[in-house]
């Protein structure tokens, strides 16, 4: 930053108390600077809330409204408990990917913190939501609030009509499979499909619902025995909730709609899970630069900057792996440093950078940053942009943990031979497909007992955790007939099986 620039203006405020006028003034100045940097945002809706309201927001997955479920109550109780005991502080802000973009500011914050939050959330996150390709393709910022309103009302109506216990059970089961309610590999249809397309989809669904293949029991004449081998679905289906919604034989229409609601909500959060590092990094980068921009113009005082830098450095602090505070790589640290690093590579490249990032070194930094923000997710972003400089700075190393071997092995460190491997390992670590077991709907025994078979395609020989049987019970509740789960090695051999109801019981019958 060019801190030597002459200060021309009066500071906006000198004390730590905030007022609505000050928030407005800061927002105007920060917004002006953000515009100069080309940050394209949704309009902002800044809401000042109390700590209790913040806990409410926490416990409804950050959304301003959500349907009712006991698990949100549990979340609330837990948050409240930990907050009251002083075990955790509340976040300074929550920001919602909607149009207008809703950002919550806590009333306890000082003016500096409010300004930091405005820069971070209202311009950082907001522009990321609007610009990043994953958010553009997967979510519809204009519709989410309306959809949640619809979902809440629909589920309340269901509770009145079918009893809240029944709805709760159904939601429990859906939540257990929520991570499998998204299309990972298939891109969804453009969200802004016109009314005609929607109607057509509705018709298709209607037909699909009423011509359910599983109920098609009319025997074909002269059906050859080989027909038994038919697979349903023809291709394995990754979106288990979608499959349930469309094909579960025993579900009532309202139950299908509830499954759909959970699926849609899950889909909405899917991009957030995949862009945590980038999203936070982008927001931190911009709050840092925007507030320094204010300082350079003389709009904020030295005291303001001291407080800001204090918060900033604690947000982007990475405890080393052997610290008692260590809980994985801090996405803020990684993201922020990578963003700053891109700028550094553009502005002051070293020879090493020229070798590693020939297309980046010496180009205008603002364009490079926007390009990175628009077109990557965590996995590909790290693969593309993690530089040797940063690996050295963070002193990253890879541990290889093979259950077959009694010892752990350091497989790469920050040296010439390790850079590329660390970059790949870290990238793989953020690949959602590796983090969650890859489980797909494999087959339905259409002609027989209608049992559903899932396949778990094992990654690096990692088995399923002990809760798999519990999840299968939930799936069994949705499907209505027997459910099997097979863990399959890459060579196609089945190495573990789960059944619901458990197999032993079946054999004794």
């Amino acid at each position: 930053m060019s801190a030597t620039k002459k200060k021309q203006k009066q500071p906006l405020s000198t004390g730590s108390e905030w007022t609505f006028e000050l928030i407005e003034a800061y927002d105007r100045e920060i917004g002006r600077l953000a515009g100069e940097f080309g940050l394209d945002t949704y309009p902002n809706q800044i809401e000042v809330i109390t700590s209790e309201q913040m806990m409410d927001a926490y416990s409804s997955v950050g959304m301003p409204l959500n349907y009712n479920h006991w698990s949100f109550g549990k979340q609330f109780v837990e948050t409240e408990q930990r907050y009251k005991r002083g075990q955790m502080g509340l976040a300074y802000e929550i920001v919602i990917n909607s149009d207008p973009c809703i950002a919550y500011l806590m009333e306890e914050n000082t003016m500096t913190m409010q300004a930091l939050v405005i820069a971070h959330a209202c311009y950082g996150h907001n522009s990321f939501f609007k610009g990043n390709y994953l958010f553009q393709t997967w979510t519809d910022a204009t519709a989410i609030i309306d959809y949640l309103l619809f979902a809440k009302k629909y589920i309340t109506d269901c509770e009145e009509r079918y009893g809240s216990e029944n709805v709760e059970e159904l939601l429990d089961s859906c939540h257990a499979l929520m991570n499998y309610g998204v299309n990972r590999y298939k891109r969804p249809k453009p969200i802004t499909a016109d009314e005609e397309r929607k109607r057509q989809q509705a018709r298709e669904e209607y037909i699909q619902r009423h011509l359910n293949e599983l109920w098609n029991t009319i025997p074909h004449k002269d059906a050859p025995e080989a027909a038994q081998e038919i697979h349903f679905p023809k291709e394995p289906e990754e979106n288990i909730l979608y499959f349930i919604e469309k094909n579960a034989p025993l579900l009532e229409p309202w139950q299908r709609e509830v499954v759909r609601i959970v699926r849609k909500v899950s889909q909405y959060f899917y991009p957030q899970k995949q862009t945590q590092v980038m999203n936070e990094g982008w927001a931190c980068f911009w709050h840092y630069n925007l507030l320094h921009g204010l300082y350079d113009e003389g709009l904020v005082t030295d005291g303001f900057m001291m407080e800001f830098l204090h918060s900033h450095s604690s947000v982007v602090y990475q405890p080393p792996f052997d610290s008692p505070y260590f809980s994985g790589i801090n996405p803020y640290t990684l993201g922020y440093n990578m963003m700053q690093d891109i700028r550094r590579i553009c502005e002051r490249p070293t020879d090493e950078d020229r070798e590693w990032f020939p297309e980046l070194a010496g180009t205008p930094w603002l364009e490079a940053m926007h390009y990175a923000m628009h077109n990557y997710k965590d996995e590909s972003f790290i693969q593309q942009y993690l530089s040797p400089t940063l690996i050295r700075e963070l002193k990253l190393f890879t541990i290889m943990d093979d259950a077959e071997s009694p010892t752990l092995k350091v497989s790469a460190i920050h040296n010439e031979t390790g850079y590329r491997r660390i970059r790949e390992d870290l990238s793989a670590q953020y690949n959602l497909g590796n983090r969650e077991p890859n489980i797909q709907v494999y087959n339905v025994n259409v002609r027989g007992d209608r049992s559903l078979t899932l396949r778990h395609y094992m990654y690096n020989n990692q088995p399923l955790g002990e809760s798999a049987d519990e999840v299968l019970k939930h799936l069994h509740r949705l499907w209505g007939f027997d459910v099997h789960l097979e863990s399959v090695k890459p060579d196609g051999t089945v190495c573990a099986q789960h059944h619901c109801p458990p197999r032993e019981v079946l054999e004794t019958l």
Partner: protein
């Protein structure tokens, strides 16, 4: 463009529904915790909220995740001395060791139990869940002596302090519209005509017509303006009515034997029982009075401190206490105004010749007036003749009289529950 909104005044307790659902779902666990708390706590803080602990395996929401095993690579920051190819033992149990730890802790293994607090109201809800005060119905409007003022719409007369301004002005507005309607319509018509004529003002005839129109419009507008802004019959007043309500007053008699045979431990148990009853009554009645009567050979009305902590020796004549109870009821608590509850605690000792008169007094003087009479006998020994006499009372008044034996402190809460269990068919 930003909008700034102050949400701080929005409705609070948005999470209440979810919280209640959570409590409902884990009601079994919470109830167990509450029962334990009641048995373990000291008397003074028995009505505080409480901490509830639920094993995390009962509360976790299952999802598919990777278990231990297979090969996994993880990247860590802050390398100090490792070089490529280093091997070392797998650290046990996470503690700061590094590898593999970040994963384990968020998968519910070795996680602490889920602990949270419930507040006083919730605590008491669970404590008294499924219990009810018997025969509250009896005091229904039958001899209601209390009234409550409630809103009952609006009237057109009343005292100035009950004036409902919004409705009054609304009525005035409506009246002005209604009464000036025809005039304003005429004004509109005239104005239209005037505008159409104003286009060619050259013609003197038209001009005269215009002037006439203007004069008429002015007259009418004056008339409209003369309409009073607010009139007597626009005024609307809040209407309040007095309706009789059932008595919300209750009196609780604590009757206890303080003869030499009652040790401090027994008295503590009795006190807990009384306390539970008191808490329970506070949830049902607005106003509660407590009368402490203790007795050995004589009965005496005392204050709480003396009731529980002073010691006296001597024989035991229970009937003295019952007579005094009857007197106090007659003098101070007419059954029409008060819901009367009596709780008696004793170790069962009584002077032999007295038990029969106890029965007489109960049946004739006390039980006809009370809502409920609960007798607990705190003893580990065999029943004596007081118990036998009381059994006969129970036969005579199966609805209002209940008795039970308590052997040790942990019996108190279960016995209390039995005595007040909902839908009592015959006592206890």
């Amino acid at each position: 463009m930003s909008y700034i909104i102050d949400r701080r005044l929005n409705a609070k307790k948005k999470s209440t529904v979810n919280r209640q659902r959570f409590l409902r779902r884990y009601r079994k666990h919470i109830k167990r915790a509450v029962e334990e708390a009641v048995n373990q706590r000291s008397i003074r803080d028995i009505d505080q909220g409480g901490q509830v602990t639920i094993p995390s395996r009962d509360i976790s929401e299952p999802v598919f995740h990777h278990g231990d095993g297979g090969q996994r690579k993880r990247v860590y920051p802050g390398n100090k001395e490792f070089v490529e190819g280093d091997e070392f033992r797998r650290p046990q149990g996470g503690g700061g060791g590094g590898a593999g730890k970040g994963k384990a802790s968020n998968q519910g293994e070795g996680m602490d139990d889920f602990t949270f607090n419930i507040n006083q109201d919730e605590f008491l809800d669970f404590l008294f869940e499924g219990l009810e005060l018997p025969y509250m119905v009896k005091k229904k409007l039958r001899d209601a002596t209390q009234f409550e003022t409630r809103r009952a719409g609006f009237t057109s007369s009343g005292s100035p302090e009950k004036l409902h301004i919004v409705r009054s002005l609304r009525a005035a507005h409506a009246r002005r519209i209604a009464l000036s309607g025809s005039d304003r319509k005429r004004i509109r018509e005239l104005k239209k005509e005037l505008w159409s004529l104003e286009d060619n003002m050259t013609d003197p005839e038209t001009k005269a017509r215009c002037d006439a129109l203007r004069a008429e419009i002015e007259d009418l507008e004056k008339k409209v303006r003369r309409m009073p802004f607010i009139d007597d019959f626009d005024l609307k007043f809040n209407n309040l009515v007095r309706i009789p309500v059932p008595s919300s007053k209750a009196v609780m008699f604590c009757v206890m034997d303080v003869s030499g045979s009652m040790t401090q431990a027994i008295k503590d148990m009795a006190k807990r029982f009384f306390l539970l009853l008191y808490l329970f009554l506070t949830r049902n009645y607005k106003q509660i009075e407590v009368v402490f009567i203790r007795h050995h050979t004589h009965a005496k009305e005392v204050d709480e401190e003396e009731f529980f902590y002073s010691r006296e020796t001597g024989g035991t004549i229970v009937s003295s206490a019952l007579t005094l109870t009857g007197d106090v009821i007659r003098d101070r608590y007419p059954a029409g105004d008060w819901n009367i509850y009596v709780a008696q605690a004793s170790d069962g000792d009584n002077w032999d010749g007295d038990s029969d008169s106890c029965r007489q007094i109960l049946i004739n003087r006390v039980l006809p007036h009370v809502q409920y009479y609960a007798y607990v006998e705190i003893t580990t020994g065999p029943h004596q003749n007081l118990w036998l006499e009381y059994e006969r009372v129970r036969e005579a008044f199966p609805e209002t009289f209940a008795m039970h034996q308590i052997e040790e402190a942990s019996d108190i809460y279960p016995v209390f529950r039995k005595l007040f269990a909902r839908k009592m068919e015959g006592a206890a």
